[in-house]
Symmetry: D2
Amino acid sequence: MNNLHRLLIDCPDDKGLICKITNVLFQNNLNIIKNDEYVDKNTNHFFMRTEFAGDLDAKELVKQLKKDLKTDLRIELNPNRKKDIVILCTKEHHCLGDLLIRYAYDELNANILAVVSNHNVLQPLVAKFGIPFHYISHQGKSRPEHEAAVLKALEIYNPEYLVLAKYMRILNPEFVGHYNNRIINIHHSFLPAFIGANPYKQAFERGVKIIGATAHFVNNELDEGPIIAQNVIDVNHRYSAKDMSRAGKDVEKNVLARALKLVFQDRVFIHGNKTIVF
Amino acid sequence: MNNLHRLLIDCPDDKGLICKITNVLFQNNLNIIKNDEYVDKNTNHFFMRTEFAGDLDAKELVKQLKKDLKTDLRIELNPNRKKDIVILCTKEHHCLGDLLIRYAYDELNANILAVVSNHNVLQPLVAKFGIPFHYISHQGKSRPEHEAAVLKALEIYNPEYLVLAKYMRILNPEFVGHYNNRIINIHHSFLPAFIGANPYKQAFERGVKIIGATAHFVNNELDEGPIIAQNVIDVNHRYSAKDMSRAGKDVEKNVLARALKLVFQDRVFIHGNKTIVF
Amino acid sequence: MNNLHRLLIDCPDDKGLICKITNVLFQNNLNIIKNDEYVDKNTNHFFMRTEFAGDLDAKELVKQLKKDLKTDLRIELNPNRKKDIVILCTKEHHCLGDLLIRYAYDELNANILAVVSNHNVLQPLVAKFGIPFHYISHQGKSRPEHEAAVLKALEIYNPEYLVLAKYMRILNPEFVGHYNNRIINIHHSFLPAFIGANPYKQAFERGVKIIGATAHFVNNELDEGPIIAQNVIDVNHRYSAKDMSRAGKDVEKNVLARALKLVFQDRVFIHGNKTIVF
Amino acid sequence: MNNLHRLLIDCPDDKGLICKITNVLFQNNLNIIKNDEYVDKNTNHFFMRTEFAGDLDAKELVKQLKKDLKTDLRIELNPNRKKDIVILCTKEHHCLGDLLIRYAYDELNANILAVVSNHNVLQPLVAKFGIPFHYISHQGKSRPEHEAAVLKALEIYNPEYLVLAKYMRILNPEFVGHYNNRIINIHHSFLPAFIGANPYKQAFERGVKIIGATAHFVNNELDEGPIIAQNVIDVNHRYSAKDMSRAGKDVEKNVLARALKLVFQDRVFIHGNKTIVF
């Protein structure tokens, strides 16, 4: 369907919201294909994601919706448009490799504009897929200096999202502020267990029987941003910390890919420190 | 909330359905709390489950809805009403015991009116919970004779649902016809694998690495009714058929309890040989 | 098999240990049915659990094993013997109810000698199964006073294991010292996430997408003892803290039952703050 | 450890086997690192996989073991040796891509000698990794003719294992006979559910709530060979057959990679139509 659209509404709850919104669509002869709503009772906030079909005058539709709703709203009129992203990574290839393969076969709903890394070991992998690779070493640079260099490299791409595919550096609030709610990280633990460095070592030492991975938006608290997706696998006493790390890589890459798919299909709303995922 | 209601709509799809329905609620000053819709694209059929709050004249509301919708619809005006059920079982206690404990602590959204069994071994367990137990042996009876006796016992209870908690007898279409789409069975395999008798033995012989259980509505084809819920667990070569059976019991009781919770909260629509679960 | 036995060895590793042990069994004409070993490389410690069959002079066998091994070892000569346990609980019935049903049908590998609670709400449930119930209120007692009263009640039963089936009180080290490595607790989170009180509320506030439960031995650090078993389920933004708590109960009861099964079959070795589970 | 070895024994059970085997190792001053045994009670068959360290004269060790055991046995004296494999595929890239990335980073325990396909669409992907690609179209060839051409291409590589990474053609017994117990397939369903063509379509039509994938050895019955590994994911009524197929791809690639890891570490014994997996 060429005339498929996606409406995303995120506003304070009010009586009759669904009625008003669907009425505007109906009056414009637009057909709802799929509809999800949720009201957060604690904050009295309304979320709606609607897929609909039909010919429309976008400006006019937004005008009508805003008139009735008296609220801010987002409308995505070309939902199949791919998001522009840049991937940041360090030395581990498993998440990056998985994303590159998906990208090569047009399964990512995104354009990978470039890959940026503080090491150059992944350059040959990225080169195979014909994507620009920026090696920006952190050696001899302060964190702000390094981040400024990364920001500068990103400037020419103007990405909508940054994907941290095992980027093993903490980001300063200033850096994060440039991509507010648009940085997605994969953390190699079942958060909030094992926040911080070496989560597999921590998991090994604690003797857990399950390990996991967490994809989340990055905010200014380390490993504290809104969680998008998590998954786990069983381990046992026979797993060394290194075995856990190896087994965990598959979970990491799957969780990151799943989270990206959700975000790039506009299925994820951020609400405070949580996500609404339709 | 005392004035909480539940609207269940199941009809051919049409443009503007959500708009029309939510408009009736809005005009009646009713507030939508939770809303789920789904359109089956293959059959062009619409499903909606809405929780809403407010004072209402039920007859009048239904009249208004029907006028606009020109379709059949179900409305449940007292969603916290418990369903009346009778449990059928044979000799295994695990599903029955789990349901009795939940019932004793008011977690089942149902009234267990009676338990009917073709054996008497579970009578002492049922007695602990003060529920009538009907022992109707199949010995010396033809299947139709036995089923007639069971139907007669059920008559005085007039249950809305029959729960087959490991009732190890095949039911004739005539029996099923009395409780069309109102009989829920737990099958001890991950259907459609291992249909029929001795699924754990079949699973053992096939050397599978995962076993499961399936809760489904019963129709006239053995193990072929609409699936409500399924779950699985890992097994390995160390499991005998008996070990699988033992491990599977926990899956069975959990899946059955989950399916019943969904059905008794009016979250399950039957559509042909499938379910829509909100 | 009446003459089935179980040998449990837990000692510093040494070259040829398996050879020496299996040689003693072979010389005594005993047939190994099932054998599990593990060497912890970090601590150089050896663990072995062997099921074997045959007629034996237990004292003589132990003497021979000790001569060759020059180490402490445990031998269980009647592995089908049921462990004597007492259950401690507070107000929640789901774990207790599950254990009582299993016990009633001889599936627990344990004798429930009594149930002790600081509340009396679960007395009627326990009474159904004909098990002594001790109501020992903590009202008006200091923690040491209350624990002394509980210890006194336990004295007459001399249990091998205490099972904390949602016993919602912290235990002093002195109490724990009486049952060292013999207290099993179910914690309603995926430890080490959400240590302490109200884990479901914590999980809700963090916005996690998976919740879990952890069965562990109790030591002197709150929620820090060796983990025996864990399991998880998916949740989403639609779950309130209360919904999580409700959904979590099924995980809790399943994980506790699984952990007890493992412990009561002598499959769990404690090693520092971890478990080896065969 | 350079002098690490792996002993694989697969023989009829006999009293004292473990004792005899470990005694030979002990007498040769070899240290057992890891040991797994299993006796299949139905067939009275013994399986053992032992990792051990030390200097050895391989011929002499095998001679001693055979003398004592009077049985056939396999000994792998260089367990870190990579297996030589050829991958067969058709048009789908997800399993192949995953294996290529793993191979590029030396995580596969195997050398991919070549990729053979009956289509040429995956040639560019394989080319990125510098691996020979053989396009052997089945167009205009009978099945035996096509298989003969494939066999001929395989000849020069002499692979130990063939990996069917979504090779969508049925193999004749004659072809399979050339690689008896050495062909590993990934089937896109939770076998034995949905044997044969279009399993996701079958799953969609049956309305299952869980779908899965199965890695298995290939024998002469379609989808009937010994199962190595399986995994599943939840689906619901919102999944079209195509959505299931898409979601299933991640399960397929993970299960295949896990199965290959197990096989290439010599952890999988084939026993009749089942596997023993250590």
